[in-house]
């Protein structure tokens, strides 16, 4: 049963980290997209 503890740890850490990274990517993506839209729409006005 101890063995499943290691398996759980491995799978847990791996997918946890991947999800965190995915979250980080999404955040950066949205930030960049927002900034880009802002700059593009600004251009129309100037």
């Amino acid at each position: 049963m101890r063995a499943w503890g290691f398996v759980a740890a491995a799978y847990g850490i791996v997918w946890g980290v991947i999800l965190l990274y995915l979250y980080s990517l999404k955040r950066r993506y949205n930030q960049a997209a927002a900034k880009l839209n802002e700059l593009r729409s600004d251009g129309g006005q100037r």
Binding site: R2, A3, W4, F6, V7, A9, A10, Y11, I13, V14, V17, I18, Y21, L22, L25, K26, R28, Y29, A32, A33, K35, L36, N37, L39, R40, S41, D42, G43, R46
Partner: protein, 235 residues
């Protein structure tokens, strides 16, 4: 403007969904369907993470190499963006590979770390590409940073076979006469569903990788465009 993004956005969405499905099926196969190993027991299931992880890492570094080479040759920004994105995700998967290897090693060999060829190699890989990322962040000028990184991306990749050879020779020539022979995967009597689990997991990781890469690449592209727009505005 938003309409322009839609097709690419949709493709990414489909890729992401496919990845999710493959990963889920892979998880089910790895944890439920495949039987425990005759020698290693349940712990062997970690291999369904470990092997795909390291393969993905190598794939990533190959892409860094290609991107770096193309960038030095043609100086097109998109190759640099690809190299940077691939390096970042490569480092992620390399770190995961080491963690998985370590967790697998504890019940198998009794230790959290050993200087066997595989783990050592993976650690060196991590050092090289973390160095790549640090190099990029420490150089102010964008173009210089891209050039410097490209050189490291090429040289680093060329060095990998040499590092492989030297570390493997080192470890096999100095093998301590004990039960700890961690270079070999004790895969006896491979049950077919184990191979299936491995394959599905690998496919899942691969799809996930390209999904992450496409996101990270797009972020790089957007940043590039943001910079260009800012320059035009004189901001």
């Amino acid at each position: 403007m938003a309409k322009q993004l839609q097709p690419a956005h949709n493709r990414k969405g489909i890729l992401g969904a496919l990845a999710l499905v493959a990963v889920a099926v892979g998880l089910y196969w790895s944890l439920v369907v495949a039987p425990p190993d005759a020698y290693q027991g349940e712990v062997q299931r970690i291999m369904y993470l470990h092997l795909p992880s390291i393969l993905i890492a190598y794939l990533s570094y190959f892409l860094v190499f290609i991107g770096s080479g193309l960038y030095l040759w043609k100086r097109e920004k998109r190759d640099d963006i690809l190299a940077h994105a691939a390096a970042e995700i490569g480092v992620l998967f390399t770190a995961l590979t080491i963690i998985e290897g370590s967790i697998w090693g504890r019940p198998t060999w009794g230790v959290w770390w050993t200087w066997d060829a595989r783990l050592t190699l993976t650690a060196i890989l991590l050092l090289i590409y973390v160095g790549y990322l640090m190099l990029r962040s420490l150089i102010e000028d964008e173009n210089r940073a891209a050039t410097a990184a490209a050189v490291l991306g090429i040289i680093g990749f060329l060095d990998i076979p040499l590092i492989h050879m030297s570390v493997y020779w080192w470890r096999t020539l100095h093998q301590p006469p004990s039960i700890l022979r961690p270079d070999k995967l004790p895969w006896e009597n491979v049950h077919p569903s184990m191979l299936t689990a491995l394959t599905i997991s690998f496919v899942g990781f691969l799809l996930l990788y390209f999904y992450l890469l496409s996101l990270r690449y797009r972020i790089g592209e957007m940043r590039q465009e943001i910079q260009a727009l800012r320059l035009k505005r004189g901001a």
